[in-house]
Amino acid sequence: MSVILEVERVTKRFGKLTAVDDVSFEVQRGDIVGFIGPNGAGKTTTMRMCATLEMPDEGDVRIAGRSVLVDVDNARHAMGFMPDSFGAYPSTTVLEYLDFFGRAHGLRGKERLSRIEGVVEFTGLGPLLSKELTGLSKGMKQRTCLAKTLLHDPELLILDEPASGLDPRARVEFRELIVALAGLGKAVLVSSHILSELSEVCTGAVVIEAGKLQAVGNLAEMKSGLAKTDEVVVRALCSPEAMAEFLSLQPGVDDVRREGATFGFEFGGDDAERAGLLAKMVAAELRPVEFRAAETDLEDIFMQMTKGELR
């Protein structure tokens, strides 16, 4: 796979504050990389540097091999940036908005019409073309902004908090669009505070805190690196009290926690011993319906990698 975005040891200072400190990572074609970190971590500054809206004080960013320091015009052409806030022009319909940005990108005549048609079909904006932007829902505005971002067919998409303020249905639909874009070979760098959203679509993650890179890599590898191999989750149809009593009597079971009918506990044994524990539950007629090792999600990675450091 080819590297589309290369962030190479970038540092950005605002006065005495070092907003981003020596951060490096890559995003490859077809990858969806989640950019996560607490508020004020430097996410937006880094994304704005990738979008050529801020200049790094040190280091460089290359988009499809074009440096934002040296080849700004071509770097901008290879990239589509969707900011966290969507500015809607008054008295402008969705079609006029897309037509304007198509013209701005230098698309002429039939080529522009065909591109607009393509992005409208992809984002499902067809029925809204004659609607004014100011009258659209937040979700539809985000779709319009995404359609605008895709008009010039960029290789890299930088999405800053795209799901913020969307209702659950709009979030799911937007997530599907992002996955579809990655399927088309686009590299996607996306930031969000809703980690469960990212967890479902991302192939990689970049964790940043206080301007410093905390972790970077493939999401599966990061999960396995942090996997809680000792933690087991169990849910059974028996009474919670019976399950609690059973677990308290088992050797190797420790730190039992309960959430409704689901129990979590530490169990140091290997797979054979886990199978034995499950067999005991069945024999004790506790009627287990779920017995699995606890999964590591993006939230766990985030919590383990960051310290909640404030600046």
């Binding site: 040296v70 500015g87 079609l95 701005a104 005549g109 607009i116």
Partner: protein, 504 residues
């Protein structure tokens, strides 16, 4: 099946022709006109100006009826219409120009525009042209009333043909200044102050225009018959165009990417303005009926008008991007040092001074009515500009890396200029030197101008100091570009591997 509801028009039809024409237009212009025609604000403003024009016209007619004086009714009606026109073009339109760029910033759409492939020039020009197009629509509503004023007699056709373009030019200058302020002021509070400045300036300009119409409505018709007046009028019109272009170039620089040479268009406009001034002076030189003072006025006016552009050229940051690196590469092949940032600005200004000097040299030898000491009247402003702006911007160059730093350096220029004039006076007061206390010293531009040729050598020496301070900055900037290039941060490595020509 197409998802677009409006299919493209059939080739050969009027729509297809218009569509093809629209492909060549600035996208911003199309967007703004669409928005203006659909939105309520333009219609309201248009109706408001028409109502004011109608009210002024009726008032003039009634006052003529009451006084029984019908002889100059045409002139009075024209002046009334001119008032309303000036309100629309000189007071309301600049506010619209300021707001149209400011709204993009406030609505967070400016960054999308900058990333859309539109150049800063296209953004600023598109905005200004759309505002002026709305102004022309306003003007079209006045044409029947102005024609009526002419038919009623009492107003010369030359006066109408001179005053209406002057109002349009005044509007264009005010709009370009508004666009310049809007592009260069980012923070909210200064933006609010900025709109106050634009509104205040617009009202002042409106009164100025109306006063001009009142005073000159009858006399200005002489323009068509007096070659000196016609020359001065044409000179004013072209100078207004140059000033508009200078401010627009400054506005473009406000939107340029940090690593791009955003001041390139300002340098070009400055150079073209200087060439136009020289061309006017040469025409005056060859025109038998014209007086020598017209030629001098052209050059002195140009020297003073170009000072603000020099302020921006000199107080800008050093350019470290691809353009600076490419310029440096080209510069190595010749004697001319292609320097980043203010270096090219300094070079340009020295060239302008030399060009003006050459024209003056020709004028002294060829034109009667110009003395050799008149040359100081042109070279002194250029030299003092170089000193007043060059010294602080050269010394404080390291602060120009950020917009806030640039603003501080520009404020420092104003303080330095004031200090150069006032501090020796204060010192004179302390030491009891009466001449010094009255401002009679060579750091005082106004005193030096009054001394004419006696102060030329000192003025040139001060200009040289302004240049010298910046040589350090230019060489440091050049060295930094070379360092960055050799580190591989600027331009492809192929450029670095090119053999450097031998300097002789």
């Amino acid at each position: 099946m197409s998802v677009l509801t409006d299919p493209p028009a059939a080739p050969g039809s009027l729509d297809a022709g218009l569509e093809a024409a629209s492909e060549r237009l600035n996208p911003i212009l199309i967007k703004e006109v669409r928005q203006a025609l659909r939105g309520p604000n333009f219609r309201r403003a248009y109706l408001c100006v028409i109502a004011i024009a109608g009210a002024f016209g009726v008032w003039q007619l009634l006052s003529g009826y009451n006084s029984g004086s019908w002889s100059n009714l045409g002139e009075r009606l024209f002046i009334a219409q001119y008032w309303a026109l000036a309100i629309g073009l000189c007071a309301l339109l600049p506010i619209q120009a300021y707001q149209t760029l400011g709204t993009e910033r406030e609505e967070h759409t400016l960054e999308l525009l900058l990333l859309s492939g539109l150049s800063p020039g296209q953004i600023v020009n598109g905005k200004l042209i759309s505002v002026l197009a709305q102004g022309l629509v306003v003007l079209s509503a006045f044409l029947p009333l102005i024609a009526l004023a002419y038919l009623l007699r009492g107003i010369d056709l030359f006066a109408i043909l001179a005053l209406v373009p002057i109002c349009i030019l005044g509007s264009a200058i005010a709009c370009s200044i508004a666009a310049f302020l809007s592009a260069n002021i980012e923070k909210r509070m200064p933006r609010v102050l900025g709109i106050g400045v634009v509104a205040f300036g617009g009202v002042g300009l409106t009164f100025g225009m109306a006063g001009l119409a009142r005073e000159a409505a009858s006399e200005i018709g002489e323009i068509g018959r007096d070659p000196n007046a016609l020359f001065a009028f044409l000179n004013t019109v072209v100078a207004a165009g140059c000033v508009t272009a200078l401010f627009l170039a400054g506005a473009r620089a406000g939107f340029a990417h940090a690593e791009e040479d955003g001041l390139r268009s300002l340098r070009r406009v400055t150079a073209v303005s200087a060439l136009i001034a020289c061309a006017f002076a040469l025409v005056a030189l060859a025109w038998p009926g014209l007086q020598g003072r017209v030629l001098l006025g052209t050059l002195i006016g140009a020297a003073i008008l170009l000072a603000p552009s020099f302020l921006f050229l000199m107080t800008d940051r050093e350019r470290m991007g691809r353009h600076a690196a490419e310029g440096l590469r080209r510069g190595r092949r010749g004697w001319l040092p292609m320097l980043p940032g203010g270096g090219l600005g300094v070079l340009l200004y020295v060239c302008i001074a030399l060009a003006f000097g050459a024209v003056l040299f020709a004028a002294v030898n060829l034109k009667s009515g110009i003395r050799s000491d008149d040359s100081s009247l042109v070279l002194t402003p250029l030299s003092y500009t170089l000193f007043y702006i060059g010294v602080p911007s050269g010394l404080l160059a390291k602060y120009t890396g950020t917009p806030a730093g640039r603003l501080r350096v520009r404020v420092a220029v104003a303080i330095f200029t004031g200090g150069c004039i006032l501090l020796p006076m204060v010192l004179g007061g302390f030491v009891g030197d009466r001449d010094l206390a009255q401002g009679e010293h060579y750091l005082n531009f106004f005193w030096a101008m009054s001394r004419q040729n006696d102060a030329l050598v000192e003025a040139l020496a001060l200009g040289f100091v302004g240049l010298l301070v910046n040589v350090v900055r230019m060489l440091a900037g050049r060295a930094k570009v070379v360092e960055l290039r050799s580190a591989g941060r600027l331009g492809p490595s192929a450029q670095d591997s090119e053999p450097e020509p031998q300097q002789t």
